[in-house]
């Protein structure tokens, strides 16, 4: 049955996370924006409370999925909770200890042994290199088998949580001449000789989140630390499948990143509307936008864009919850939410003029933080490329 309200359980998830965001994140937003790279220890408590609420809610009522045909479960819960936390502060949310993108990779492609061993790891993801960004099939970091070990060499950048994590998932090629089929990922525990954090980036926004450069010099890990098969597929089909498997993680993470954009845009809209209400500008959703003031019309437009992005994000997560392939929808929501989040936060600064631009409020911070959401986990343009290929039925060699 077509019904687009979220379930009561998920509404509760949102309300709880939003409460934490308001009372335990917002008060520290400015502090850690100023103190870049300082560990936000206050977030440990928030992360613990979030994990706690996840456990009790899953222990409580049986998931609706038990008998009903339609499921509203983990993927939806994640994007809904994340909206609320990103409303609190995107940088601080990303600095939550205990979970990084590497965990998602281990959980989605790891063996049962690997999943068990690294169940409590704080794992970051190392993909980008100084010379390789969106074209992740082009990485140069190498992994060479020597006896019962893999020897990893190369340099990785833009590793979120790279310093604070205890485990890394590293993309490396077994043989660059064999193309993307030879790209594998490896679990590297921090402290392994040859693995070193060389630098932390100074960024425009999400300053509470640490972004590291990490070098690997003859870094040796056990053979069993490879994620997936060590074989390099030889036929076209196998090659596609091998890399497709690594890329599939993104179908799950993109709606989550879209949710960040939805959350931060909501934060900006709430704050801008609050500031403008003090100057008697309020929305009643009655007059046509063209018959209202320019500022009201723009607020209506932003509310509308926000709602569109939010629903696309829910749809992608809903499809994942119901076992439907959602690669196109995951990219659609990331594309729409990414550009919406950036547009809305920047416009809110503009509409509030000096109050928006000033550090006296957080609007200017939202506008700085939001930019990265249209970039990481696949830029706007990469999402457009994926959506276009799916809509047009094109391969990556036809539509480059």
């Amino acid at each position: 049955m077509i019904q687009l309200e979220i379930s009561d359980k998920h509404q509760e998830t949102y309300n709880n996370a939003r409460m934490l965001a308001e009372h335990m994140m917002r008060p520290y937003s400015r502090k850690y924006d100023k103190a870049e790279h300082q560990y936000p220890k206050e977030m440990e408590e928030v992360a613990k409370l979030m994990a706690g609420s996840r456990n009790t809610s899953s222990k409580g009522k049986k998931p609706e999925s038990a008998s009903a045909a339609v499921k509203n479960s983990n993927n939806m819960g994640a994007v809904i909770g994340m909206q609320a936390l990103a409303w609190g502060d995107l940088g601080l949310f990303m600095a939550f200890p205990g979970s990084g993108l590497g965990n998602a990779a281990i959980n989605s492609v790891g063996t049962p042994e690997q999943r068990k061993k690294y169940a409590n790891a704080y794992a970051a993801m190392c993909i980008t290199e100084p010379g390789t960004g969106s074209d992740s099939a082009n990485i140069s970091t190498t992994a060479v088998r020597e006896g019962d070990q893999w020897v990893i060499n190369g340099e990785k950048i833009y590793v979120s949580d790279g310093e604070r994590c205890d485990t890394l998932v590293v993309w490396a090629t077994l043989d660059k001449s064999l193309g993307k089929a030879a790209i594998k990922s490896f679990i590297v525990e921090k402290g392994t000789p040859g693995c070193e954090v060389t630098r932390l980036e100074h960024k425009m926004g999400i300053r509470a989140s640490d972004t590291a450069a990490i070098s690997f010099n003859d870094c040796r890990v056990p053979l069993s630390n490879i994620l997936g098969s060590p074989e390099i597929a030889t036929d076209e089909e196998g090659r596609k499948k091998a890399f497709g498997g690594v890329m599939q993680t993104f179908d799950n993470t993109r709606p989550a990143v879209a949710a960040m954009a939805v959350g931060i845009a909501r934060a900006a809209l709430d704050m801008a509307r609050e500031i403008l209400a003090e100057e008697d500008i309020q929305l009643n959703f009655e007059k046509k936008p063209s018959n209202t003031s320019a500022i009201e019309a723009e607020l209506y437009r932003m509310e509308s864009e926000w709602e569109g992005a939010r629903l696309l994000t829910l749809k992608a997560a809903w499809m994942a919850d119901n076992g439907q392939a959602n690669s196109k929808e995951a990219s659609m929501c990331k594309a729409k939410a990414g550009r919406m989040g950036n547009y809305v936060t920047l416009r809110c600064v503009e509409l509030c003029q000096s109050l928006g631009y000033s550090e006296a409020h957080l609007l200017e911070k939202f506008a700085r933080d939001s930019k990265i959401v249209d970039i990481f986990e696949g830029t706007q343009q990469i999402q457009q490329l994926i959506v276009a290929r799916q809509v047009l039925g094109k391969s990556s060699s036809e539509l480059k």
């Binding site: 309200e5 729409k336 047009l392």
Partner: protein
């Protein structure tokens, strides 16, 4: 009752009836609407017998109570929106014409009195097309649906109507018209007008699009209406009517835009320039990607508003925001559709130029296609 199935869940799955309906509507849109749309648009006339065929879809009959000869299904804004979406894929103007009597019926069911339902609804159950319409718009640049300037005054138990309405679908042929006007100092009211009473004139309008819709201006010069013409015998919930109409308009926009997307997808894959299909170029492909993305957002927003209306939840903001989204993005999709076909899109050999002209109306129209 199983409490698990009672729990409200986010769900985008059509139910069995809606799926069956979809197949019927899509077939009708392809076989009966799309094929006649071009000639009809050029002639500015709905093909003979077209509306009779649409009557076979039973659109007006379904929600009318059995006692009055209908099928007695609950009026479903969601199903109505889905039908509008699927039909408009064929052609928005012809579909809006086909749905206009349903908008009249829906509004009568929603806000009419029992006596009015008994009097007017049975004729919609006979399987023939009954031309009936709703009239809200007025001819000025700053018109706002919530502030009609058409007036009505209660005099000796009757009403006197003055002012004019424009962009009234089926304006010339409608035997029943629901006209919205301010009632003295009481606020908005709606009147059911049968035929053409003294003092009322109808003038056909010509517009850049929606050319088969028979849009007309209705002018009222001291038109006397009996007491029972007042819808529901009381003031009219204009906001609710406008909101329900917005859902219908948005659904029509979604359907038309789906038509644009399907058409250009095929075209850019086949059209060769510089030695390869133009869809191999990002500049072209990204436009298609954005079309698909924005269209899906429009659809979800429309469905959400419809679903809230159906559940009896407040849907005022959702309908408003869906209209804001469709007003902007439907036109963008329309203009990009022409752009992607280049000069071919500008010529009438392809339908995209007519969709462009029709889609311009989405931001402008209000008070039609109520679900």
């Amino acid at each position: 009752m199983n409490t698990q199935t009672d729990e409200r869940l986010f769900d985008l799955t059509r139910d069995d009836d809606q799926r069956m309906n979809q197949a019927t509507m899509q077939r009708f849109a392809a076989n009966e609407i799309r094929v006649v749309a071009k000639d009809a648009d050029e002639a500015g006339v709905t093909p003979k017998g077209f509306y009779s065929k649409t009557a076979e879809l039973g659109l007006t009959l379904l929600p009318i109570p059995e006692a009055l000869g209908g099928a007695g299904m609950a009026r479903s804004p969601v199903s109505n929106a889905l039908n509008a979406e699927d039909l408009a894929w064929g052609d928005m103007a012809l579909s809006l014409g086909a749905l206009t009597p349903q908008a009249f019926v829906n509004t009568l069911l929603d806000q009419g009195s029992d006596a009015q339902r008994e009097r007017f609804l049975p004729r919609f159950c006979e399987g023939t097309f009954v031309s009936a319409t709703t009239a809200l718009m007025e001819p000025r640049a700053t018109f706002d649906p919530m502030e009609p300037q058409c007036t009505s005054n209660a005099i000796d138990g009757c009403y006197r109507l003055n002012g004019s309405k424009c962009m009234v679908p089926l304006g010339e042929s409608a035997e029943l018209k629901m006209v919205i006007a301010q009632l003295d100092e009481e606020g908005p009211a709606a009147f059911i007008i049968e035929g053409t009473p003294d003092g009322m004139t109808v003038k056909r309008e010509e517009h850049m699009g929606l050319r088969t819709l028979e849009l007309a201006t209705l002018t009222f010069d001291n038109v006397q209406l009996p007491a029972e013409a007042l819808l529901g015998g009381r003031s009219f919930d204009l906001q609710r009517f406008v909101n329900l109409s917005r859902i219908g308009l948005c659904a029509l926009a979604v359907g038309c835009c789906q038509g644009v997307l399907d058409y250009v997808t095929k075209y850019v894959n086949e059209r060769v320039a510089f030695g390869e299909p133009i869809s191999n170029r990002q500049a072209v492909a990204f436009m298609v990607a954005d079309m698909a993305t924005e269209l899906e957002a429009m659809r979800l927003m429309t469905w959400r508003a419809a679903s809230r209306a159906e559940q009896g939840l407040d849907f005022h903001e959702q309908a408003y925001l869906a209209k804001v989204a469709c007003a902007e993005h439907a036109m963008k999709i329309g203009t990009d559709g022409v752009q992607l076909l280049g000069g071919h899109g500008f010529c009438r050999e392809h339908p995209v130029e007519s969709w462009y002209r029709n889609l311009r109306a989405i931001a402008i129209m209000d008070g039609v296609a109520s679900v």
